[in-house]
Subunit: 328 residues, 4 copies
């Protein structure tokens, strides 16, 4: 029924962009089941928050045991994305990387095998924008709408429903998407057509990596020059050196509470994940012939850190990586 409404709404929208029935149909539809594919560290708390928001959840994961926690809270766990698509016309995917997304949508048991016409497919994975565009095209052929909505924020923000979503796709579907995203985060930014969410995410994370390495180098240099790290942090944050890594997520142990640097770089956002995102930035920059000298060097440094045992530490551990060992 919801699917039918969505379908007829789309027809209406095409004839008259100014009459937007989305909200009406969505509010009627809103408590119908939502599909969720990908139940990892991020996906599970996101799906739980949708449950809390009153949405029945029909979910799946390649590792069946990943669905246990969600099942205990009342979600229905199925075997494949195709089965989920058969039962829900709004589906969210949260997967590790591009190949997983391609498989989940276009694989032999993928969403698109059984997707209902008019379905809304939201991918919150961080992947190559060009893959997002391919998925959108493939979805459109089946009569479904695909949006990319990667997140800013980690496991903590996912649990607290404080994620930020950067959304790409048809603007007229943004309201519909926000209805669901609003259960899982406190912010959804519309960035442009499909792939734009991924583009914005990649850009943000590249600048984040540069700022973090820059902050680590700067703090280390200051220490070597005899400055107190708390004082230097204060100076930077009052001056033009200020950035998120200096004022919110300082990489030097002892400067701030409640950040990974205060906890031996455990938790947070792993170096391996940052290296992956920088790989995406590198690839899109190469494809578009865009020079990114610092972004590229940041990528190489995080990649080198992965090779030297830092893969699972928070990415602020670059401070530790660059620092002379105590004993030398």
């Amino acid at each position: 029924m919801a699917a039918l409404l969505r379908g007829s709404r789309s027809l209406l929208q095409r004839s008259n962009n100014h009459v937007d029935l989305t909200i009406v149909s969505r509010s009627m539809a809103s408590k119908t089941p939502v599909g969720f594919i990908g139940l990892g560290n991020m996906g599970t708390p996101m799906a739980l928050n949708l449950l809390k928001g009153g949405y029945p959840i029909i979910a799946t994961d390649v590792f069946p045991e990943s669905g246990k926690q969600l099942q205990d809270h009342g979600a229905q766990i199925l075997d494949t994305p195709a089965e989920v698509a058969d039962k829900a016309d709004r589906i969210i995917t949260m997967l590790p990387s591009s190949p997983n997304v391609i498989e989940a949508y276009t694989g032999p048991n993928g969403v698109l095998r059984k997707v209902k016409k008019g379905s809304l497919l939201i991918d919150s994975s961080t992947i190559d924008p060009s893959v997002a565009k391919e998925m959108a095209l493939a979805s459109e052929k089946m009569g479904a709408v695909f949006m990319d909505a990667p997140v800013s924020g980690g496991v903590g923000a996912a649990s607290l429903a404080k994620l930020t979503f950067m959304v790409g796709g048809p603007e007229e579907e943004f309201t519909a998407a926000k209805e669901l995203l609003g259960c899982m985060g406190h912010n959804a930014l519309y960035c442009g057509k499909v792939g734009a969410g991924q583009a914005a995410k990649i850009c943000n994370n590249m600048l984040l990596a540069i700022g973090m390495i820059g902050t680590a180098e700067t703090m280390n240099l200051g220490l070597r020059l005899g400055l107190d790290p708390k004082l230097l942090t204060q100076v930077l944050n009052m001056s033009s050196g200020r950035c998120w890594s200096s004022d919110t997520y300082n990489p030097v142990p002892g400067v701030m509470e409640g950040v990974p640097s205060a906890n031996n770089y455990l938790g947070g956002f792993g170096t391996m994940l940052m290296a992956k995102d920088l790989g995406l930035a590198q690839s899109t920059a190469t494809d578009t012939k865009t020079p990114i000298p610092l972004g590229s060097l940041a990528h190489q440094l995080y990649r080198t850190m992965c090779a030297r045992g830092y893969a699972n530490k928070d990415f602020s551990s670059i401070f530790q990586f660059l620092r002379e060992e105590e004993s030398q």
Copy 2:
């Protein structure tokens, strides 16, 4: 008379660090003449603000004509730093680089040839911290106190008395220094012993350069990926990519008003000056064996820009430098 007081105060201080007569003697002394050496684009408005604050100014510059404007406002212009030191026991220097500072203090007509015992010498140039330490040592031998107090902020901030000073030197002299610095800026941060002001300045500017190049790369990549620059700026500033260069001094024309990118990169902080500061960061990092991969690459990029005709454009013109030319 002030000099005598200062001298006796110093003696007292040496015998008893807890009895600090500074404030008393300073308030008595406060309207005695202040020396000012270096009357360039920064020095002249700084000296004018001291004049406005009620301090008689005795000044000099290697280019005599540089003193004209100050003279018109009532300052006394002398020929050499030595002559200034003969007539004023508080002296501020604002010079282009380390060799000029060395010459102004220890040269044949330098301050130290005639400096009075107990004089307070404040250097606001941006120089190598090790040179600041050398000057402090040489000054101490003559019975004078040397402090480094480099500034954050450009010609505009100098004119409006809105500079920030990062101050290094004996902590017990900080109050005395602030009396004068307060006429020229709205902020003075005590950073530690002599050289610490320079160290903090260098650290800040290195991180600033990294943040600026990173922002330029990121914005350019976003544009190539089809994002609107204002929207991308908004996303970054709400997320972990946020930095001073993204939220206060955006390098992309059309994103912000009142910044050099809105004015063809005129005004602001020149690429050549940034290259100089990064050279100081590079040298101190080399001396202290500190790895600064991004800081070092930022240095090389600004140096290359100087070689390619960008020397006098604002340092945010890195956006233009990295961007594919329209015609290609």
Copy 3:
């Protein structure tokens, strides 16, 4: 007939790898027509050398006028790769980049539409190794053998039949490939299974770019320190700094004759082409999670040069790019 022989040989080979009929069948086949796809600056002289070697040529190019010169020498020019494949069972492709290769093989008028069973397809373009593997797989499905054989050497070497080929593909086909490659070059190196030729080419060019930029930086630094460039070149070449860019292709005008630096950086290997090859290196490194800090920075520098007007100059013009302009 040759096709039949090749086909039956393949069957034989599969049953018994030790009985290799290649040489026998090839020598019978050797003067049958050879197909050539891609008649640009490289392809045309390569095809002419095959003509000189006695091979009838059946060729095509997306720009029909590109075939004129070859036609004047007796080659037959057809409209599409498919038509070429219909008439020749040995085909060489020499195209600008991966998408052109994909189109020429698997496009609607591509080679694989009409390829004869047992055909030998040799791609001398420089492309992503993973695309070479895809083409090999697609060719295998049609019963044809695909080999990658990118070249080292530019237009001059192509004209003089002095190219070096780096060859990937089934080892038992290497002899057959060498028969043709020997007409166009003086060296063919077997590098391993399909894609290995591209991998070797990409590796070589990455190290070449690093060596060239390194040489340019070093020579420029030496000049600034007062060294004579010829003398410095001599010192480097007798010492551990020696590399191809210092001893064979020196980037400093006046040091060597007959290289692009002696001719205002005209001719040679364009900066844009080097940037493209470095893009391939960057992408394969990203895909394989391999850190390439210098290779990546080299890529960014050549990409930046493209943005600053150096796209069509020889890649040794990095010396000019880094050097301070005379007037400054």
Copy 4:
């Protein structure tokens, strides 16, 4: 007597540059004692080779025990450089870095306290060219001639008298210098006025570092792409990727015999020493405003390696540093 001859020769030379008595006086002088300052891993075998060449040696080192081996071979060990200068009019210094050289020449017990007029002072340390110029100036004031003659080649080459010397200083003294250098090496290159030897050395080592890191990255990328390292080495060495690090000192274990990579990176030229030389390159580049993007990044990488436990491994261990650990 030799000193007198040298002194009078200098006078003659000043009046008539065409009459050069150097050779005559030197051949008379040649078996007079030679001073040697700095008896470390390099200095000791160098001094031993002078002894073998028939020169009585008068030597010193800050660590008295360092002279033991030389003493056993008949050298006279004194306490200070000044005492050496008092007894020998040709002196060679081989010290770790600039501050040691400054101390050995201009310190309170330095050579220049007792140097004889006309003495020939040859410094084979690797130091900042500007320090070499300062030492030359100070020596000239005392009537002595200072030349810089840093070496290429390590402990092995020093033992075998196969060093290469890069020599800076007055050209008319080069013959005199070669007489001694010829006992310790097989090559002496005249590079220009004083400091030119250091400049050439620094330039060579910067390009060496770039070539080594580039080779390591390239070999690692090739391995990841499935190439055999020996084959890839062969391809590079036949192509434009060829460099000293690929064809003479390959960093990949198993490719070559008799190099540090075949011996767990023991022996050879330590990462810490390379970092030091790159620091000199960086400083001279900063001073002369020369952009060295790859040289600078090479410096940062070797500096980072020092911080991560590679300080005493051969500099070709960058291959190991960049490589993913087996277990990951």
